[in-house]
């Protein structure tokens, strides 16, 4: 089924001209000229038969297995699933810092293990869920940590270039530029981390729960920034907990159910209320509010009827 049919007009951010082109390039749509053409573009990231165990240990609890999907330029993938279902582990495994139990991860046509680590850093950036900030460091220095990374003798952070200044303005970090990262609020620190990842200048972005501390306005900002990254030829894989935010950002979804099940596909197919409800163990309803699709959760059958 095609996205444009199922989603209707509600899913597109207001006034977004990008949405239709997004749908046309989706490789999971109906057989058409557009999709077969898309299939010729080599995916930025290709996952086949992936299985992970907790902690990356051979005797760890099975998180999921037989997960496969392709991420192409222009796509935004959201990883959904309950606590402990393996979202962070999946993102770390895609980044190459988590031991796989089975399966293959291919980036730009080359197997993950065959990449030279510093060359891979040019192709994908990983933003972990937790950062350690043991020592003082300004916001300006922190967002540029991974920039000019081939410059081994960097005595001080260079003057911010246009890309740095532009992104800091976009993420509302300019006023914080000289602040010590250890004095920031959770949401501010998170925006700094997102900026650090984006400024690594890699096409494939892997972000682990980048919205967990963001307020509503900054969540929307994050969606816009990540969509912008995808629209300019990159791709994004990001784990989220907020279904509405996921709906706004995603064109594709990986759904982990926490019981070993994993599925990947276009947003509309993966984010059916019944399917989400089964994965999260709560009743979920999808409603249209002001012509936008929203998710309600927490009300079980008879309570919802009252």
């Amino acid at each position: 089924m095609s996205r444009s049919k199922v989603d209707g007009s509600g899913s597109a951010p207001a006034g977004s001209p990008l949405h239709s082109s997004r749908d046309a390039s989706s490789h999971a749509g109906m057989p058409s000229a557009a999709t077969s053409q898309a299939a010729l573009i080599e995916p930025l990231l290709s996952v086949t038969g992936l299985g992970l165990r907790a902690g990356g240990l051979p005797d760890g609890r099975l998180l999921f297995e037989r997960l496969g999907f392709d991420v192409r330029a222009g796509e935004c993938w959201v990883v959904l699933g309950p606590n402990g279902s393996g979202k962070s582990s999946l993102l770390a495994a895609l980044a190459g810092v988590f031991e796989r139990a089975s399966g293959e991860v291919v980036i730009d046509g080359q197997a993950l293990d065959a990449w030279k680590p510093d060359a891979l850093a040019d192709r994908r950036a990983w933003c972990p869920q937790f950062w350690s900030d043991p020592f003082p460091s300004s916001v300006l220095d922190t967002v540029q940590l991974a920039r000019n990374r081939h410059d081994a003798w960097l005595f001080e952070t260079p003057e911010p270039d246009d890309a740095v200044q532009g992104l800091m303005a976009r993420l509302e970090l300019v006023e914080l530029a000289s602040a010590d990262v250890r004095t920031l609020s959770g949401g501010e620190r998170q925006r700094v981390a997102i900026a650090t990842a984006l400024l690594q200048d890699a096409p494939l972005l892997l972000l682990d729960e980048p919205a967990s501390h963001l307020d509503l306005g900054h969540q929307q900002l994050l969606v816009d920034v990540l969509r912008g990254h995808a629209d300019s030829g990159g791709a994004v894989v990001v784990s989220l907990h907020d279904l509405n935010l996921a709906w706004d950002l995603a064109d594709h979804v990986v759904l982990l159910d926490g019981r070993g099940g994993a599925a990947a596909g276009p947003r509309a197919a993966m984010m059916k209320p019944a399917r989400l409800g089964a994965a999260f163990g709560v009743a979920i309803q999808q409603v249209a509010v002001a012509s936008q699709q929203r998710f309600w959760s927490g009300l079980r059958g008879e309570e919802a009827d009252r």
């Binding site: 810092v97 891979l120 990983w126 350690s132 043991p134 020592f135 460091s137 960097l154 001080e156």
Partner: protein, 326 residues
């Protein structure tokens, strides 16, 4: 920043000049014999030991992601203390000098080496762990292994202090406080701090990344396990050489890197060499005071280092804290 490093270098040279000019009989140039046989070797020994300790401290703080780490958390000074005190005890057993002076330096060097070997055997696998959860875990575990080695050594030191005679006790206590009195062997500390700096300085940027998280550094292409092991080996080498030269001078390794951070040395590329230069200058100046303040009595340099360093560091810390608030 290069300019700041040049300033640090000038400061270090000035400190050495002050150290050479300061004497127990007042300021000024001594006779050539005193100058070349006593003062210059002593100043160089102090500088080398201070540089090695501060460099090791900066490395340990980066490696454990803990601003409170210092070279001694590894337990190496504990091993050196056991070796040195053992030599002091054996050397004068029965009331006569059986062993030459330099046997104490050999003893402390050997003690530090044994402690480093134990540390490496116990922490080799910890350092080899990577992954999401292992990051914090392995830093803490490394600290705990070091603390355990240090605890075992200090128990041994206490035992030696109890067994020692009145006469031996004085020498032992001075050694434990950190003492440059009669230090003439400066080559070992210099080779050690220069070699340690040469090992880690070229990868300084990777050490900065490592401090943010092992897994994140790995995604930037850092060979995490090798970097950690090399950094630990460099810190162990520097610490062992420093305590063999000048005894267990406290405070330098913890506070010099910290103070430099407070005045703006934030990247490891700056912090590591600046720590070495600053630590060397600090110990030389402290020793100059120790020799002159109640001359002809010579105080242990460790006492002056703490007496001068603690208040100035607290001022720096509290002022910096006020400025940072926003």
């Amino acid at each position: 920043m290069l300019r700041r490093l040049a300033i640090m270098l000038a400061l270090a040279v000035a400190a050495v000049a002050v150290g050479v000019a300061a004497g127990s009989s007042g300021w000024g140039w001594a006779t050539p014999e005193i100058l070349w046989k006593i003062r210059v070797p002593r100043v160089l020994a102090g500088f080398g030991a201070g540089a090695a300790l501060a460099l090791a401290g900066a490395l340990m703080q980066l490696l454990t992601r803990n601003p409170l780490a210092d070279p001694y958390v590894l337990g190496l000074s504990g091993g050196a203390s056991v070796g040195a005190l053992l030599m002091l005890w054996l050397g004068t057993l029965g009331g006569t000098m059986l062993l030459p002076d330099w046997s104490v330096a050999i003893g402390s060097g050997a003690g530090a080496l044994v402690a480093a070997a134990v540390l490496f055997v116990l922490s080799w696998r910890l350092l080899g762990r990577t992954g999401l959860a292992a990051t914090q875990e392995s830093s803490v575990a490394l600290l705990l292994v070091g603390v355990m080695i240090g605890t075992a050594c200090s128990a041994f030191v206490s035992m030696l202090l109890v067994l020692a005679s009145e006469m031996q006790l004085r020498g032992m206590v001075f050694w434990l406080l950190g003492d440059l009195n009669g230090a003439t062997q400066w080559g070992v500390a210099w080779v050690a701090w220069l070699a340690a700096l040469a090992l880690v300085w070229p990868t300084a940027r990777q050490l900065d990344w490592l401090a943010r998280g092992d897994a994140w550094a790995a995604t930037l292409g850092v060979p995490v396990v090798r970097r950690r092991r090399v950094a630990l080996a460099a810190a162990a080498l520097a610490t062992g050489a420093a305590v063999a030269t000048a005894g267990a001078i406290g405070f330098v390794g913890l506070v010099v890197p910290h103070a430099l951070r407070l005045i703006g040395a934030r990247t490891a590329a700056v912090l590591l060499p600046a720590s070495a230069l600053g630590g060397g200058a600090f110990v030389v100046l402290a020793d100059a005071v120790a020799r002159t303040v109640v001359a002809p009595v010579q105080l242990p340099v460790g006492v002056i280092a703490a007496a001068v360093g603690v208040p100035s560091f607290l001022v720096l810390l509290l002022q910096g804290g006020r400025r940072r608030g926003r």
